[in-house]
Amino acid sequence: MTNNRLLPYLLIAPATVFLVLLFVVPLVQTIALAFMDNGVASLTNFRKMAGDLNFGLSIGNTFLLVLAVIPLQICMALVMAMMIQKLDKGRDLVLWIWIIPLGISDLAAGLVWLAILQDRGYFNTVLNMLGLVDGPVNWLSYEAPVSLFVGVVLAEVWRATAIVLVILVAGLQLIPKEYGEAAEIFGAGPWTRFRKITLPLLKPSIQSALILRTVLAFEVFAVVYALSGRNFPVLVGEAYAWQHVNQNNGVAAAYAILVMAISLAATVIYIRALRTPPEMQP
């Protein structure tokens, strides 16, 4: 009897210990690092962070990136998922091809787009061949913030839409097809069915995808770093720079805490805003 009651806890113990060691301990250390200066509690690190020239810029850039990338990804993934849903044959193959970027690390993805967009990259070569430009154009330079931003957005969308797609396809498959059929019988056209039936029933999946993607988007770093170095400062990039360039792990920890706070806030907002009351679930 007692054995039986202990068993579930025993079974989750390894995972719990693992998480405590590798997550909670570093978290506590990071908090300690951020809020201490020479062994005393202080906000020095945060003051230093806020006073830095790149601070406002990196916050602005990160938010701009999130605001541009996330809606684009959700919309694209929704369209792609709906299209896949309509396929009878070859559906798995298409899904397979569409989620290939999932298997590529974000640094590699950044390098792929660097190869395309740099001075002597594929993009310029094509433009040159078409006679649209003469000589290489520097799309990723400090002086071309718009094309730099577009490049980063493109790379992020290419790299990370697949995970949203996977979540939405899984969610769509959970919706029995009779709901759409019933709506169709009672006179709803494709757009109405999407808005009144599919979208509301897909809300839990959209919520999961949003939370996951937003948290990851606030942590964007490798893609940006590969494409622009520090020409396009973002929050995690600044943390990296403070840690490794300025050798100040206190300020780096302060950045880490800030990113965590923003991610948490975004998650709470999504959970609140996209709540599906239990009685409205199938």
């Binding site: 029995p176 009779e178 709901y179 059929e181 019933a182 709506a183 169709e184 019988i185 009672f186 006179g187 709803a188 056209g189 109405t192 039936i197 509301p200 029933l201 599906t276 239990p278 009685e279 409205m280 679930q281 199938p282």
Partner: protein
């Protein structure tokens, strides 16, 4: 005018044939029951009429219009799904109102129709609830109300009362019948419950393995089944089938003999349990095995020359297992069936 004409519809799922060259006419305002065992293709046929499934070949006409290639919403019908398909994210009210809203009906009209439909199906107390908080039977009634609310010219129902308790089902059955009758709705009603089909329908189409075995008025179907399958499926208890040897144009078993016209040396007699009288001597010898008092009759199960048979006798008859009775079937009501193909032999009925 909204009769349905089903013209040589065939449906294959890969190699498997769900429907074979099925032709069927449902008249305007008629209540047709599709009756058949599980897996015989009832739902498939209904979905093809609705346009949710594409036929492999054949055509569908509704009200004289070829709708074979039209999407469901342009066919002008309503449907009750076998698994309800009540929208979980809408209240019962909004579910019932859905079809009217899609037509752009004014709020007052929506309210009126929703209340009428909800009243018919006794779901007024749940109008503000979400379907997740309803029982299966309540959800099923919401699905029926949703279909009735649009006052369709053609109504397709896939086992709409299967989840109700016996009493409520009886009540809903008669209400449905009177509502659909007075509105002149052409109805195709799928069920595998033969009492329901008998009670509701103007005509019953009995389906078996993707074909319609027989289509007729309930009483005719009951009295003159065209095949052994129909006789066994319609009516409770099922029809008795007793094989008899034929000699010189006479089917003979025990002391029972009857002239038959067949070239074979055996014939199957299809006899209803209530079309049999117990007599003093002669007739078919019947060894009683089980007695079941059903209230209005006493149902005896036993054997005639080793073949299983059921007989309904007066409830006050004194019979016990082990008794031997003499049975006299009323000759005019026997359905003679060719045992080779299971088809009834040319009766002039």
């Amino acid at each position: 005018m909204a009769g349905i004409r089903i013209d040589a519809i065939e449906k294959r799922f890969g190699a498997a044939r769900a429907l074979e060259q099925l032709t069927l006419d449902v008249e305007d305002g008629e209540f047709l029951a599709l009756l058949g065992p599980s897996g015989c293709g009832k739902t498939t046929l209904l979905r093809i009429i609705a346009g949710l499934e594409t036929q492999t070949s054949g055509r569908i006409f509704i009200g004289g219009r070829d709708v074979s290639a039209l999407p469901p919403r342009e066919r002008g019908l309503a449907m009750v799904f076998q698994n309800y398909a009540v929208f979980p994210h809408m209240t019962v009210y909004e579910n019932v109102a859905f079809g009217l809203r899609m037509k752009g009906a004014a709020d007052a009209e929506v309210k009126k129709q929703v209340e009428r439909a909800a009243g018919l199906l006794h779901i007024e107390p749940y109008l503000e609830r979400y379907p997740a908080k309803l029982s299966g039977g309540q959800r099923q009634r919401v699905a029926v109300a949703r279909a009735l609310a649009v006052q369709p010219a053609v109504l397709l129902m896939d086992e709409p009362l299967s989840n109700l308790d016996a009493l409520l089902r009886l009540e809903m059955r008669s209400e449905l019948k009177s509502v659909l009758n007075s509105s002149g709705t052409t109805t195709v009603y799928v069920t595998h419950d033969q009492t329901e089909a008998m009670g509701l329908a103007d005509r019953i189409a009995v389906m078996h393995k993707g074909v319609i075995e027989q289509i007729d008025r309930p009483q005719a179907l009951y009295e003159r089944p065209a095949t052994r399958f129909v006789g066994g499926f319609v009516g409770s208890p099922p029809m008795n089938f007793i094989d008899m040897p034929v000699k010189a144009g006479l089917a003979r078993l025990g002391d029972f003999a009857n002239p038959v016209s067949t070239g074979r040396d055996t014939i199957t007699a299809g006899i209803r349990a209530e079309d049999i009288a117990v007599v003093e001597r002669g007739g078919l010898p019947f060894d009683v095995m089980v007695c079941e008092p059903l209230g209005s009759t006493l149902l005896l199960t036993g054997r005639v020359a080793g073949q299983l048979a059921r007989v309904a006798v007066r409830p006050d008859a004194v019979v016990a297992p082990g008794d031997r009775l003499n049975l006299e079937p009323s000759p005019g009501r026997i359905v003679w069936i060719d045992p080779a193909n299971g088809k009834a032999i040319g009766q002039a009925a």
